[in-house]
Symmetry: C2
Amino acid sequence: MFKAEITVTLRPSILDPQGKAAHHALDELGFEGVRQVRIGKFVEMEIEAATAEEAERVAREAGDKLLANPVMEDFEVVIHELTSA
Amino acid sequence: MFKAEITVTLRPSILDPQGKAAHHALDELGFEGVRQVRIGKFVEMEIEAATAEEAERVAREAGDKLLANPVMEDFEVVIHELTSA
Protein backbone atom coordinates (compact mmCIF):
# COMPACT_ATOMS: atom_id res chain seq x y z
CA MET A 1 0.00 0.00 0.00
CA PHE A 2 1.26 3.45 -0.91
CA LYS A 3 0.32 6.96 0.06
CA ALA A 4 0.39 9.60 -2.66
CA GLU A 5 0.61 13.27 -1.69
CA ILE A 6 -0.56 15.45 -4.55
CA THR A 7 -0.07 19.21 -4.26
CA VAL A 8 -2.17 21.18 -6.72
CA THR A 9 -1.12 24.80 -7.24
CA LEU A 10 -2.45 27.62 -9.40
CA ARG A 11 -0.10 28.57 -12.21
CA PRO A 12 1.82 31.78 -11.43
CA SER A 13 -0.06 33.73 -14.14
CA ILE A 14 -3.46 32.94 -12.63
CA LEU A 15 -4.96 35.36 -10.11
CA ASP A 16 -5.65 33.85 -6.69
CA PRO A 17 -8.44 35.74 -4.91
CA GLN A 18 -8.48 33.24 -2.02
CA GLY A 19 -4.77 33.83 -1.43
CA LYS A 20 -5.26 37.60 -1.70
CA ALA A 21 -8.02 37.42 0.92
CA ALA A 22 -5.82 35.42 3.28
CA HIS A 23 -2.95 37.87 2.74
CA HIS A 24 -5.24 40.80 3.51
CA ALA A 25 -6.53 39.05 6.65
CA LEU A 26 -2.95 38.45 7.84
CA ASP A 27 -2.17 42.14 7.32
CA GLU A 28 -5.26 43.05 9.36
CA LEU A 29 -4.12 40.70 12.13
CA GLY A 30 -0.83 42.60 12.28
CA PHE A 31 1.44 40.07 10.58
CA GLU A 32 4.58 41.67 9.22
CA GLY A 33 6.85 40.43 6.46
CA VAL A 34 4.28 38.40 4.54
CA ARG A 35 4.81 39.24 0.85
CA GLN A 36 2.58 36.79 -0.99
CA VAL A 37 0.05 34.08 -0.22
CA ARG A 38 -1.13 31.47 -2.74
CA ILE A 39 -3.60 28.74 -1.85
CA GLY A 40 -3.84 25.37 -3.52
CA LYS A 41 -5.02 21.87 -2.69
CA PHE A 42 -3.29 19.05 -0.87
CA VAL A 43 -4.68 15.63 -1.77
CA GLU A 44 -3.71 12.44 0.07
CA MET A 45 -4.59 9.16 -1.65
CA GLU A 46 -4.04 5.62 -0.40
CA ILE A 47 -3.30 3.42 -3.37
CA GLU A 48 -3.07 -0.38 -3.53
CA ALA A 49 -0.34 -1.10 -6.08
CA ALA A 50 2.47 -3.57 -6.69
CA THR A 51 5.19 -0.93 -6.93
CA ALA A 52 5.80 2.73 -6.12
CA GLU A 53 6.03 3.38 -9.88
CA GLU A 54 2.54 1.98 -10.42
CA ALA A 55 1.15 4.02 -7.50
CA GLU A 56 2.74 7.15 -8.99
CA ARG A 57 1.22 6.40 -12.38
CA VAL A 58 -2.24 6.12 -10.79
CA ALA A 59 -1.75 9.35 -8.80
CA ARG A 60 -0.55 11.27 -11.89
CA GLU A 61 -3.48 10.01 -13.93
CA ALA A 62 -5.85 11.11 -11.14
CA GLY A 63 -4.20 14.53 -11.20
CA ASP A 64 -4.53 14.81 -14.97
CA LYS A 65 -8.10 13.56 -15.22
CA LEU A 66 -9.75 14.85 -12.07
CA LEU A 67 -7.80 16.69 -9.39
CA ALA A 68 -6.12 19.49 -11.32
CA ASN A 69 -7.52 21.86 -13.91
CA PRO A 70 -5.02 21.55 -16.77
CA VAL A 71 -5.56 25.12 -17.93
CA MET A 72 -5.03 26.82 -14.57
CA GLU A 73 -3.19 24.43 -12.30
CA ASP A 74 -0.03 22.36 -11.96
CA PHE A 75 0.48 19.44 -9.63
CA GLU A 76 3.30 17.47 -8.03
CA VAL A 77 3.21 13.92 -6.73
CA VAL A 78 5.21 12.38 -3.88
CA ILE A 79 4.82 8.66 -3.10
CA HIS A 80 5.43 7.08 0.31
CA GLU A 81 5.28 3.37 1.03
CA LEU A 82 2.96 2.48 3.90
CA THR A 83 4.16 -0.36 6.08
CA SER A 84 1.59 -3.13 6.00
CA ALA A 85 2.84 -4.85 9.17
CA MET B 1 13.29 35.96 1.73
CA PHE B 2 11.78 32.60 2.58
CA LYS B 3 9.00 30.49 1.19
CA ALA B 4 6.79 28.64 3.65
CA GLU B 5 4.76 25.67 2.47
CA ILE B 6 1.91 25.00 4.87
CA THR B 7 -0.12 21.82 4.38
CA VAL B 8 -3.45 21.88 6.19
CA THR B 9 -5.14 18.51 6.64
CA LEU B 10 -8.39 17.41 8.24
CA ARG B 11 -7.88 15.37 11.41
CA PRO B 12 -8.38 11.64 10.78
CA SER B 13 -11.58 11.59 12.89
CA ILE B 14 -13.26 14.29 10.77
CA LEU B 15 -15.40 13.24 7.81
CA ASP B 16 -14.21 14.57 4.45
CA PRO B 17 -17.12 14.84 1.99
CA GLN B 18 -14.92 16.51 -0.66
CA GLY B 19 -12.47 13.61 -0.49
CA LYS B 20 -15.33 11.10 -0.62
CA ALA B 21 -16.70 12.82 -3.73
CA ALA B 22 -13.29 12.72 -5.42
CA HIS B 23 -12.90 9.04 -4.50
CA HIS B 24 -16.32 8.27 -5.95
CA ALA B 25 -15.48 10.18 -9.14
CA LEU B 26 -12.21 8.23 -9.51
CA ASP B 27 -14.16 4.96 -9.14
CA GLU B 28 -16.59 6.12 -11.84
CA LEU B 29 -13.64 6.95 -14.11
CA GLY B 30 -12.44 3.36 -13.75
CA PHE B 31 -9.50 3.93 -11.40
CA GLU B 32 -8.52 0.78 -9.54
CA GLY B 33 -6.61 0.43 -6.31
CA VAL B 34 -7.59 3.80 -4.80
CA ARG B 35 -8.51 3.11 -1.17
CA GLN B 36 -8.93 6.55 0.36
CA VAL B 37 -8.86 10.18 -0.70
CA ARG B 38 -8.55 13.11 1.72
CA ILE B 39 -8.40 16.71 0.57
CA GLY B 40 -6.72 19.56 2.41
CA LYS B 41 -5.15 22.91 1.63
CA PHE B 42 -1.67 23.79 0.44
CA VAL B 43 -0.65 27.34 1.27
CA GLU B 44 2.51 28.97 -0.08
CA MET B 45 3.65 32.15 1.68
CA GLU B 46 6.60 34.36 0.84
CA ILE B 47 7.96 35.79 4.07
CA GLU B 48 10.56 38.51 4.55
CA ALA B 49 12.51 37.49 7.65
CA ALA B 50 16.03 37.57 9.01
CA THR B 51 16.27 33.83 9.61
CA ALA B 52 14.49 30.60 8.68
CA GLU B 53 13.47 30.25 12.33
CA GLU B 54 11.71 33.62 12.26
CA ALA B 55 9.96 32.74 8.96
CA GLU B 56 8.79 29.48 10.51
CA ARG B 57 7.47 31.29 13.57
CA VAL B 58 5.45 33.64 11.32
CA ALA B 59 4.13 30.72 9.25
CA ARG B 60 3.11 28.73 12.34
CA GLU B 61 1.37 31.74 13.83
CA ALA B 62 -0.51 32.24 10.52
CA GLY B 63 -1.54 28.58 10.66
CA ASP B 64 -2.73 28.87 14.26
CA LYS B 65 -4.57 32.17 13.86
CA LEU B 66 -5.98 32.01 10.34
CA LEU B 67 -5.20 29.15 7.99
CA ALA B 68 -6.18 26.08 10.00
CA ASN B 69 -9.30 25.41 12.05
CA PRO B 70 -7.85 24.24 15.37
CA VAL B 71 -10.80 21.97 16.11
CA MET B 72 -10.82 20.07 12.83
CA GLU B 73 -7.46 20.52 11.17
CA ASP B 74 -3.74 20.00 11.65
CA PHE B 75 -0.98 21.71 9.71
CA GLU B 76 2.68 21.25 8.92
CA VAL B 77 5.20 23.89 7.88
CA VAL B 78 8.25 23.52 5.63
CA ILE B 79 10.55 26.53 5.07
CA HIS B 80 12.73 27.04 1.98
CA GLU B 81 15.17 29.89 1.52
CA LEU B 82 14.62 31.85 -1.69
CA THR B 83 17.78 33.06 -3.37
CA SER B 84 17.69 36.82 -3.60
CA ALA B 85 20.30 37.11 -6.36
